[in-house]
Symmetry: C2
Subunit: 172 residues, 2 copies
Amino acid sequence: MNTAPADPAVAEEPRWLTDEEQRVWRAYLHATILLDDHLDRQLQRDAGMPHIYYGLLVALAEAPGRRLRMTDLAKHAKITRSRLSHAVARLEKNGWVRREDCPSDKRGQFAVLTDEGHQVLAQTAPGHVATVRQAFFDRLTPEQQKSLGEILQIIAEGLQPKEAGADLPWLR
Amino acid sequence: MNTAPADPAVAEEPRWLTDEEQRVWRAYLHATILLDDHLDRQLQRDAGMPHIYYGLLVALAEAPGRRLRMTDLAKHAKITRSRLSHAVARLEKNGWVRREDCPSDKRGQFAVLTDEGHQVLAQTAPGHVATVRQAFFDRLTPEQQKSLGEILQIIAEGLQPKEAGADLPWLR
DNA sequence: GGCTCATCATTGAAGGTTAAACAAAAGCGG
DNA sequence: CCGCTTTTGTTTAACCTTCAATGATGAGCC
């Protein structure tokens, strides 16, 4: 009905997804929403915070001095500074993170993982890893894992907010 | 520091992710948050609604009579009925969806796509497909697409809210 | 110094999501 | 028909995210 090839006039009719592409796309949408919800529920239940907040604590725990500039943490977690600001405010209220002024740049703030925050992480990390394994890794062959990693990296690289290639694409 | 193998006493120490698994997992987290944000922003800008709401309209457009019971629509979109209730309320306020009583079940409600809603879909679908292509399909080989589809389907199936197998050729 | 522009981080308001509680109707077993 | 449980969909309040606006500092330039 509408797959006619030529019509260079005005509207540039779109290339709709093929049946096969639709299957892939829906699998993507379904898998990601189910997995995200699953992890959010697990962490909300066992750690009292959403998945993304947990990721912030992990990033801080791995950073030298267990601290990161707000902008760096936001880039690391792929979220806006605004969102991070709200998130850190909440984590600060929990006592898991504290803010510190940056001495070399008076605009700057460090988010610092507190001992209490580190402890929460230590207590909840095993359960979280188990959940990730059970929902994700345990269901895939090593080949599938490798393939998936490559594919997702391509997708992610295509969406980095410009400035990619500035520093190393991989962690470390 | 703590990867000693044996300690069958109490704590069942967790199997942490290997370096390779960590790379895959972070690629997953990064790709999905970047892509979700990307699509949300595109649709918010061009259609005035978040991605998930757009998906609801698509589901209704494809359903017979352009209508679906609330519970069916929620299952289709993989969201809770509560979330759907809020979403439909908003879409109704936009005039893109209306509710109708179900004659055979007085508790039931249909969400029905209005003509106006259908028109919004027709106007914004081309741009959305183009965005999906550009961010997703255009970057992957056919083999990668196939592989990804299979993998994601496995993940999704593992997380379906039970009730799978309901229609297996079982004794009734 | 003084000017301009970019960057850092936060804020407030509007909107979206979650979890628990609820009412109404349906199903089910006696 | 009667009680009991389940299903359906909504509601409320708390929480989270987004967007635009803001203040404050830094950087470059003359």
